[in-house]
């Protein structure tokens, strides 16, 4: 597979480290989080495989084009709208979570408007970028940030206060039946491959999704899931980990660099994840934007005439983002995210159905 494909998956995984996903998992830490995580690895890999093989059949084409070619119109419109709303919500969740985190930990005096505004300003630039450029940006920023991320991981695992006994206690909870919410949350980590919906447009070369790629994705996913779940447990202990609002931030706050210019790792961590979150929001909203654009569009757009649709869509995004960020409290946000994650299986099935329909449509032609 193309290396950009892995980047897309990786970004999705890393972003969920600091978002609400660990918290949802910890809610079920003594009710079957671990078996559902194991199940989620399987389901996520299967899903990744399905998406990747499907899009490899149609190099250089995004889902909107495929749908327009090979399926009835009403079906295409419904699917496009549903998908764009979903992607928008995924980006919105990251945005709101990060705004809360930044407001809490980095700049408590700053107005929440300003934080959201600064985010949305750059994100809307990212939305309007060319799809190819988005990929290049992802690559450069990931490569810039990767050493820091690895450093933080090493720092976490090699830390003397990292309590492996707590990790073992958490691992003992394997004998519970899996739980729906924790299962869907854990599968969300593997959802990065869905981003191909739009990004497949730039993958014009025929490529193969071999078992090696599947293995790579699986290993990365397992490592990230392990880190995501067990590092906060190692720092915070098993019993009361449920009560922390942002377990990962608290975990990183217990690390310090003795000789560093910046003593507390939490700030480096936060700035690093600020970048990653920005990328994730850009990816999600970029896709949502293009899907919505295709949904609204009636016929082929003429190049010359000025078209206000993209700007209208962005204004819509902005307004919804501001409203949602101001309205939601952390508790509500957490509840809504759980609902969103629980709806993911429907998303799964719908997408698979779409693939089926498109495949049949393409064959009948």
């Amino acid at each position: 597979m193309n290396r950009f494909f892995y980047y897309l998956i990786l970004i999705n995984m890393i972003t969920s480290v600091v978002a609400t996903n660990p918290k949802i998992l910890f809610q079920y830490s003594d009710k079957g989080a671990i078996p559902s995580m194991l199940l989620a690895v399987g389901a996520g890999l299967f899903f990744t495989y399905a998406v990747a093989t499907f899009f490899n059949k149609f190099p250089g084409k995004g889902l909107p084009e495929l749908l327009n070619e090979a399926s009835p119109k009403w079906f295409a419109k419904c699917i496009l709208f549903y998908l764009s709303v979903n992607f928008y919500l995924a980006g919105l969740i990251t945005l709101i979570t990060y705004t809360h985190i930044l407001k809490l930990f980095l700049s408590p005096e700053m107005s929440i408007y300003i934080i959201v505004f600064s985010f949305v300003l750059f994100v809307s630039f990212g939305i309007l970028m060319k799809t190819r450029s988005v990929l290049y940006t992802i690559e450069i920023i990931l490569i810039l940030f990767a050493p820091v991320f690895v450093y933080i991981l090493i720092k976490a695992y090699a830390n003397p206060i990292f309590d492996w006994d707590a990790v073992r206690v958490a691992m003992m909870q394997i004998n519970h039946p899996p739980e729906l919410s924790s299962f869907t949350t854990a599968t969300f980590i593997f959802m990065g491959s869905v981003n191909l919906v739009i990004f497949n447009r730039v993958f014009t070369k025929q490529q193969k999704f071999s078992s090696k790629s599947l293995l790579t994705v699986g290993i990365i996913g397992i490592v990230i899931l392990f880190t995501l779940y067990f590092v906060p447990i190692g720092f915070g202990g098993f019993d009361r980990i449920k009560d922390l609002v942002y377990p990962w931030i608290s975990a990183t706050d217990s690390m310090r660099m003795k000789f560093g210019l910046v003593e507390r790792i939490i700030f480096i961590f936060m700035l690093l994840f600020l970048g990653i979150a920005l990328l994730s929001i850009i990816i999600h909203w970029h896709i949502a934007f293009h899907l919505l654009d295709n949904f609204v569009r009636k016929k082929q757009r003429s190049q010359k005439k000025f078209n206000p649709t993209p700007y209208l869509i962005i204004v819509l995004f902005w307004m919804l983002a501001f409203m949602a960020t101001l309205q939601l409290s952390e508790y509500q946000l957490f509840k809504y995210i759980t609902v969103f994650d629980n709806l993911l299986p429907i998303f799964f099935l719908l997408l698979l159905l779409t693939f089926f329909v498109v495949n049949r449509g393409a064959q009948s032609k």
Partner: protein
């Protein structure tokens, strides 16, 4: 990036730096009458004047200009508490860093970029600085000349890759 960092640290998040450094930075700003970003902007304009002047003046005079500007004015500024010591260091570093850049036209671009980063840091603090940095990367990757992007990473250095696998 340094001027932006200075603004972000002094006016938004002094607690990020370790305590000794934060104290020494804050200590050197005692008596400076205006907010840090005005200080930074003033000093940056001053250093730009200085570099431009030293380019244009004849050789014999330009040494005098830099001495008067750099040494005497710098010392006087800190003693009159119009700018902090750390600020002078930063400005000097910025000046040296601009001389590193090999192409003169590129240093103009860097100048603009520096100012925009400074503005973002002033408006949004450390968040703005990081986002501004990422934003400049985004801007550069989005810019194209003759269909090739300004900024991208060539991975394997294969012929294929140079032609562009993802077109």
């Amino acid at each position: 990036m340094l001027p932006g960092l200075y603004v972000a640290f002094t006016s938004y998040n002094p607690e990020i730096l370790r305590i000794e450094l934060a104290l020494s930075v804050a200590g050197s700003r005692i008596g400076v009458p205006y907010p840090s970003f005005i200080e930074v902007i003033l000093m940056l304009i001053f250093i730009e004047f200085l570099t431009e002047a030293s380019i244009r003046l004849p050789k014999a005079v330009s040494a005098t200009a830099t001495t008067v500007g750099g040494l005497i004015l710098g010392t006087a500024l800190t003693e009159a508490a119009l700018a902090s010591n750390v600020m002078i260091i930063i400005v000097a570093l910025v000046a040296i860093a601009t001389f590193i850049i090999p192409v003169n036209e590129m240093s103009f671009a860097i100048r603009i970029g520096r100012t925009s980063l400074l503005i973002f840091a002033t408006l949004f603090g450390l968040i703005g600085l990081t986002l501004g940095f990422l934003g400049s990367i985004m801007y550069l990757t989005n810019k194209e000349s003759f269909g090739e992007t300004y900024l991208r990473i060539y991975w394997k250095n294969q012929k294929q890759e140079l032609k562009g696998t993802t077109k």
